[in-house]
Subunit: 338 residues, 2 copies
DNA sequence: TTGAAAGCGCTAACAT
DNA sequence: ATGTTAGCGCTTTCAA
């Protein structure tokens, strides 16, 4: 069994309280006893029982991250990187990270509710915000600490980090138009996501700023996976007059779209341009390397994590709302159309 | 604030004890009070305080998963999928999942030790076993529950799930030799990993079974990332007499190797064959689609998770040691050599 | 059928 | 400088 304060107390012939205080470094304990206690504690390999401390302190020093995922074969590199950022930063502050994966919907909300009510964690990290986000409403109603990566449609009165993806997509459209493209299509995320709202708008405004017509049939929705991107691209490419460039709203869909193009015998970067968003590590190693919009996902993870911990610890945030400017990464998948 | 047993007790005019028993469904409480208590509990939105229960029961109903990662830009799809499997299965049994990412080494061991000593979790999931694995030694010495995905060099006296990757690589070599290849190279994982041991051996034995010479210069080590695979492939391809096929020991390295080949103007699947291992979702959508060895990573995640929970709950496992047979997935990256 | 009391391991207010 | 007491919220004897 594990060493407790009581064990140490018995060994040094002092009360549990004194031992507790000696270990906590309070100065109302004599130099001698403190020394002795710390010495013995080290010898015995004492580590405080976290659960007991949590109960006493009414904090868990734990944050939760519920990943919204569909289906079992889930593996978006975007999430792993974000997760690493959140977790590593939390660890720096002595916080643990509780992770679950739930499809958006009732089960997901139930998970949040249970963690709130059972005081399982001190706060939440929210990702992939929805235009009207139940998770955020729930958390706000319960006055529970959280930080979001992303905004919602109205009342963004909560701490968040987001990137200006509208602007990112506009940059992309500019780039493609410069390359001589006039027939641009867009593979957009599911419309309930706030992502979709910004990126779609960036696409439309990008076209308009170049006086290009907006063809609704060239804007397709897909589920952010390769499969989704591939199917959407197949639809686009089988049109009588297909687009010459496809702006996919994340890298995974772009990779799927590239795969569809290859299968039709097209050479991406020559016969057609395809672009992504996120700049996952694989983008650089795709064939051809993928032109995309870079998002500092790991850093965003560390930022939201630190913000959340500050909130939990009652500190005031210098910036409640952080909006980052993404940058365009031009690679070979968007070479000039011949 | 949250609802406690005491609150309910006051409301129904009964003791905390009775309320506790009523809610737990014990039969030594009158039908009437049970009804009433449950009713009131629901009305008040009672959820037990997990921390208090943990302290009392001396269990946390939580398992830990410490991902061994190098560097911050970590995003191996392999891990996300495995994580989802572990987490979803745990949730089915009412267990939570604590996740951290640590580079192998001191910090990592410290994390294990802390979680053990502080009784933070009830058990561990270990992945990417090392030939001589400190994590496993530590856990065994502390008699702490764990299940590993992978084996170690000696004394595999612990519960694990593993795939027969030696055999998987041999299948791959067979396939490539059938395609007419005689100059096969291998991009192997870091040699301290048990993975490396099996896969390398599979490669060597595969060659020997076809009476092909084993050229040590054709066996390079890389770190399981695209970058690593790319560099290794560059080394191989710049040799005076380069290999005609490259067997990468995971998909990420294979993707990196493909990228290196393309950059040299080679067409993968025609000028050179490149194969992977894992069958991550991206493999299918690579250009060309990647020939690889399929591992049911998600299922392995659910298996180890369930095994661990069974151990924690004191049940005996039907199979302490599970070894799965992987299957070959032939795609276009390994077409016949012309 | 119910309740009082003890205790899980820790911290903190209040003596001394 | 140290100890006593109480309590975090829950479960579990043991008694009534």
């Amino acid at each position: 069994m594990s060493v407790t304060l009581k064990n140490i107390a018995e060994r040094v012939g002092r009360s549990v309280t004194t031992v507790s205080r000696a270990l906590a470094g309070y100065d109302d304990v004599s130099e001698a006893t403190r020394r002795q206690v710390q010495q013995v504690a080290r010898e015995m390999g004492y580590v405080p029982n976290i659960t007991a401390r949590q109960l006493q302190k009414q904090r868990t020093d734990t944050i939760a991250f519920v990943m919204p995922t569909y289906g079992p074969r889930f593996s978006d590199p975007f999430f792993s990187e974000f997760l690493a950022g959140v977790g590593n930063q939390a660890a720096k502050f002595g916080f643990d990270l509780l992770v679950s994966t739930r499809p958006p919907g009732e089960e997901e909300i139930a998970t949040y509710l249970k963690n709130i009510r059972s005081r399982r964690v001190d706060g939440f990290i929210i990702v992939r915000t929805r235009r009207c986000d139940d998770r955020i409403t729930l958390l706000q109603n319960n006055n529970f600490p959280f930080v979001a990566f992303g905004r919602v449609e109205k009342n963004n009165e909560f701490p968040f980090v987001d990137e200006n993806s509208e602007w990112g997509i506009k940059l992309m459209v500019d780039h493609l138009v410069e390359q001589g493209h006039t027939r641009l299509a867009c593979i957009a995320p599911p419309s309930e996501l706030m992502l979709a709202y910004y990126r779609r708008r960036g696409f439309v405004q990008g076209l308009q700023s170049h006086n290009l017509p907006v063809n609704e049939r060239f804007i397709l929705e897909a589920d952010l996976t390769q499969q989704g991107g591939r199917q959407a691209a197949e639809t686009l490419l089988s049109m009588p007059r297909p687009p010459s460039a496809i702006v996919a709203c994340n890298d995974l869909m772009a990779l799927g779209a590239m795969s569809a193009a290859h299968q039709r015998g097209l050479t991406v970067g020559r016969d057609i341009s395809i672009t992504g968003f996120d700049d996952i590590p694989l983008a650089e190693h795709a064939n051809p390397p993928l032109t995309t919009v870079h998002q500092p996902v790991y850093q965003i993870g560390t930022m939201v994590s630190e913000m959340l911990i500050n909130i939990i610890q009652g500190k005031t945030l210098p910036d409640q709302h952080v909006i980052l400017q993404p940058s365009l990464i031009i690679r070979q998948s968007s070479r000039a159309k011949l």
